[in-house]
């Protein structure tokens, strides 16, 4: 009797894993390998003024948001309103990385829709994007005052996600609380 129960036991175990798998959520979501590690070093010309550079050095000192965006990215447009609100509330500095985009188009986009960024870095060939492990836009990174990556969010931001994922991780020392 004993050995004929093994298939049943094996199947039960397998089913257990499959249930867990179903509960788990989006199989495509990739956790960032940088969580808990220093943000990748970079230095790029800014979008609006190529003479000026912006890089990791600018990000340290306070909690900061780095938002990867592009004009060809539909979801970036969807979250843009929220970013403007967030910038207006002066809760936290927002930096942008304009990823694989046309400089002219990007500047026009910001002029038309508003610019929530303290400054946007212009990543023409995507190399910095790769260094940050970016694989889709929009992506938003939360950095702590030491420049460590606390959290990465893939997809557009909204107030709910902001509260649940970002504010919750920012601790007492983050900017003016909101």
């Amino acid at each position: 009797m004993n050995r004929f129960l093994w298939p049943l036991i094996a199947v039960a175990v397998l089913l257990g894993f499959l249930v867990l798998g179903l509960l788990h959520g989006d199989p495509r979501a990739l956790p960032s390998p940088f969580i808990g590690k220093p943000a990748p070093q970079f230095e790029l010309p800014t979008l609006k003024n190529p003479e000026v550079t912006i890089g990791s050095k600018n990000l340290a000192g306070d909690y900061a948001i780095v938002n990867v965006w592009a004009t060809w990215c539909v979801m970036c447009r969807a979250e843009h309103g929220f970013l403007l609100d967030l910038a207006a509330s002066k809760t936290i500095p927002i930096y942008g990385i304009n990823w694989r985009d046309s400089r002219v188009e990007a500047i026009r986009w910001l002029d038309e829709l508003g610019d929530p960024y303290i400054a946007s870095a212009y990543d023409a060939d995507g190399r910095v994007g790769i260094d940050w492990g970016v694989y889709g836009a929009p992506e938003t990174f939360l950095l702590d005052p030491e420049g460590t990556v606390v959290y990465k969010h893939l997809g557009p931001l909204d107030p709910v996600i902001w509260q649940r994922e970002f504010v919750a991780r920012m601790g007492a020392s983050g900017g003016a609380s909101k």
């Binding site: 298939p7 049943l8 199947v11 089913l15 894993f17 499959l18 179903l22 788990h24 199989p27 956790p31």
Partner: protein
Amino acid sequence: MIPEIGQFALILALSLAICQAVLPLVGAHRGDAAMMNVGRSAAAGQFVFVAVAFACLTWSFIANDFSVLYVANHSQLSLPTIYRVSAVWGAHEGSLLLWIFILAAWTVAVARFSSGLPDAFAARVIGVLGFLSVGFLLFALLTSNPFDRLVPAPADGGDLNPLLQDPGLAIHPPLLYIGYVGFSVAFAFAIAAMISGDLDRRWAKWTRPWTTVAWMFLTLGIALGSWWAYYELGWGGWWFWDAVENASFMPWLIGTALIHSLAVTEKRGLFKSWTLLLAITAFSLSLLGTFLVRSGIIVSVHAFATDPTRGFFILTFLAVVVVGALVLYAWRAPALDSDVGFAPLSRETFLLLNNVLLVVATTLVLIGTLSPLIIEMATGGKISIGPPWFNVAFLVPMIPLVILLGMGMHAAWRTQAASPWLNTLKIPAIIAIILGVVIPLFGYGRISIMLVVGCAAAAWIVASALIPIIRSLRREKGTAGITRSALGMSIAHLGMGSFVIGATIVSAFGVESDRALQPGESIEVAGFEFHMKSLGNVQGPNFSAIEAEIEIRDDGEYVATVRPQKRQYLVQRSLMTEAGIHPGMDKDLFVALGDQLGNGAWSVRIQYKPLIRFIWLGALIMALGGLIAISDRRYRSTAKARDKVPLDSTKTAEAPA
């Protein structure tokens, strides 16, 4: 109106399926002939109503009824009629209806051709199939109704995924499902045997043809999918070990093991509980495949866009079916042990080896498919397991299997004397070793261990499989020739040989080259010259395309002109590649357009694929072998009259045959 008729028909089908599930099983238990007979009528009724529902959905597509949500999402005014029909099964809800339809069709076939089976047994089989129908109909009606309305109806639809607008892909799902779903018959036969507690050699004889037919269609369906991926997806590959591909391949592997195991059970009454387990596993893997594809649990370009609710439903259904079957198995299997034996060198041993290796292969594919998920659960880290692992892992059991294949065919039942057997194998062995070296070295100019193994294995299988055929042709007048069963076996194995040589050669000697080309320029790949004559635009019924005209020459001599296209479908706006292929049994020349580069040039992928067609030809030949095998005399009706006598006449009340 029509969609409502369709929906109502589904509900009626469900009620009939419930009758079909419950009454025959109760009737078999009580020996009530009237109740048992309900099964056949209920099955016929269910089929009619499912067919009506299917017809209603098809009509909605053809008539462009965009008030039906499913039609609105997957069709379009400018979609050619033939694709409006194939769009019926192009997404989740419709393909589920197709599944239900095919299950109902198989059930009717069983009802029709089961006159040779004892009544109680046939009733139980139909009852189990009814139970499966109930599960799927509930799934459709509760979570995936194809007849949901969209109000207000849009003026035009969202179009069928352009990848699916292709004749090859149009028939791929039906063929595949006939196979997948067909294993439910073997499953039902297994459950029926376990319920009654009787399983003997006749049971194996009854089960075999049904299993073989399902296996045939699955073979064809998988081969078609592979061929389609090759010419449609634009990257020239024929197998990617994608989760959904694996989902269809695992039932095939176990189905192959099952066919071979049934041979032993039919011939000698051995491996009964093992054969039962295989029959349960084959269909369980079909269900698992359905789950994987529709639950959103894995990442695949094949996966239906769907949600976890549906995933939970299928998983629950899968759990009930498989756990139920395995409980029955744990209960009944111990009593099935038989007490005859066989010698170490015998056909039984080789078939056992076949089964072991196929089960190992299946387990490996399962591990590769599910491990990323399990590892993520367990450790939180995400890994990918792709072709680099699968290709290596799969060969580990496959190489021995292929070698043993040639040997096992010639081993006798019970015990085989070593000397005559080795004698038979001498010539194939010599041919194999010679061709194993000659084909790669003189055919293609390069040699390696893997190449020799691959080519030798193919030659070995072919030579070995031809022996029974040659012997039959050379036999003495008046003596019995090869039976259809044995002929089918030889031919199926020949198909395997064709597959092995195709896969070996194309993997080793295929050449791929990505280059930039402008009109007027030429490139040389694998000794052929590819000259881009022109680049222009063409219009299709629902797409616009850029088409390149590329002339191929061999040493200056004209070979062919191919016209690869980059299409943009007007509604979904996705870009699709139509490869330009110059086919041939000895090689394919494959050209696909990549991206537009600056200054009027395009990136072009050119591939040289030697013997690639042998891969799909092999599958076709295998399926043909299966067909021939089941046309054998002993599966025909005259033989069946003898089977009507129940296994144990004291167990069921039965009218005299």
